[in-house]
Amino acid sequence: MTEFRYFKWLGGALAIVLATAAAAEESLVHARLVADTDKLRAGGTFHLGVLLEPEPGWHVYWRNPGEAGLATEIAYELAEGLEVGEVRWPVPISFVQSDGIDGFGYEDPVVLAAEVIASDSVPSSAPVTVTASWLACKDVCILGSATLEATLPLKGTELAASNVALEAWSEALPIALEPGVLDLSITGGPVLSEGAVDMVAWLNWKAAPGSVEFFPDPGPGLKIEGVRVQNRGLLTRIDFKIARLKNSSDPSTMLRSLIVIEDERGKRSAWVTHIELD
């Protein structure tokens, strides 16, 4: 079981340290480029991303924003010799956006980052540009973006702060469901081309889980409604209604989801599961 902490403690100190990494901008979300390499090595890997710090009370969105909102986007422009992988997302929180409209995202500082691979031809220093685009909401919503430029490797306090931020990011990522944590069984389905289907995910835990949350991450052609989580001791029942968007060409046969538990001390653990739909 991997445990992780949220980034509350990153708040002020890191923002001050990283203030020079990007031009400060009056914004509801403060964005800083982070990269954890002290030297660009041929064949080496490192992580590159953005630290986003929403102002108190504001949130930005996870890759599935929920029933409304907009996923945050990270785009990379890298020098030749650097190749970036997929952005990896820390476990989100859930919130009610409005009566009956659920949302998933981040209120505390969060890093969205990806692994970068350096080729044999990588130069000793390389310019990078990372653009973050977000929708920030509180009582109202504001679109924002930041284009952050840097020359890698970072140095001094910028590098030190990046290392701290990306270590916290790594600890906050969900992991693949491991044997020995729980038995997952599904009732309901299959999810065909027409009509919504009621499905139930049954989680039979090996140890009492504390509180349980479920974050569905459907493909573009799937919609999820009415998620309801109930706990009884070692069993968790997750009800949801799932449908394919009519005439969608999305061929998803799995529903990627996160299962997140939180113990009495507020420590969260998260696993990625794939629920078969056929």
């Binding site: 029933e67 009956g100 919503c141 504001i142 679109l143 309801r228 069993l235 009800d239």
Partner: protein
């Protein structure tokens, strides 16, 4: 076998309190729920007034940046005007809890909206349709059936060149006008959450 029995027992315990929550709102293919709302001038407007016509419902919130962008770009007005000329009825509905008739009148004047802007402060009509975002678009055909539900287009951030966007509403209205079934009848809407009354 033992494990299966154990699971079945647990299922029966939880099933009492279980029951999947039904998703609210309408689905494509449903009969469009009827409603009567007041426009910004206080006149009652009913869906039933437009029997036999194609009706577009546009959920709005003048404070939402996605709505603002579409009106600043004139994309919503152009779309509404273009299809109004061919007999399509356009109704804008504002389910924002803090926006009364005066707020809607101000919005209509500012954006030069020549069609009804309907006041749904208690959110009853928004909930009946399952409107979750602003904008969120619904198209009702001449038989009163919902034939499209979702986003206005495929460009949430407004980054694409106007010609590169796919306007789902225009495409659906064209399909309906041609007597065809709508090729993309359902998309995921994008935008701010509808600010419903609690």
């Amino acid at each position: 076998m033992l494990k299966m029995m154990k699971t079945m027992t647990l299922i029966s315990i939880l099933a009492v309190a279980g029951g999947a929550a039904a998703g609210p709102g309408v689905d494509v293919g449903d009969n469009a729920p009827g409603f009567t709302l007041e426009d910004a001038a206080g006149h009652e407007v009913s869906l039933g007034d437009f029997k036999g016509k194609v009706v577009v419902l546009e959920w709005t919130n003048p404070d939402c940046p996605f709505v603002k962008r579409h009106y600043q770009e004139n994309s919503m007005n152009k779309l509404a005007s273009a299809y109004s000329d061919s007999g399509v009825v356009w109704l804008t509905i504002n389910s924002t809890n803090y926006m009364d008739a005066a707020a809607n009148a101000s919005f209509a004047k500012k954006e030069d909206i020549g069609w009804p802007v309907l006041v749904d402060q208690d959110g009853a009509v928004g909930h009946a349709y399952g409107a979750v975002t602003t904008p969120h678009m619904f198209i009702i055909d001449t038989k009163g059936i919902v034939v499209y539900e979702g986003a206005i287009d495929d460009d949430p951030r407004g980054n694409m060149e106007a010609g590169a966007r796919t306007n789902y509403v225009a495409n659906a209205l064209n399909d309906v006008a041609a007597g065809q079934s709508v090729s993309t009848p359902e998309t995921k809407p994008y935008g701010c959450s509808v600010k419903y009354a609690k």
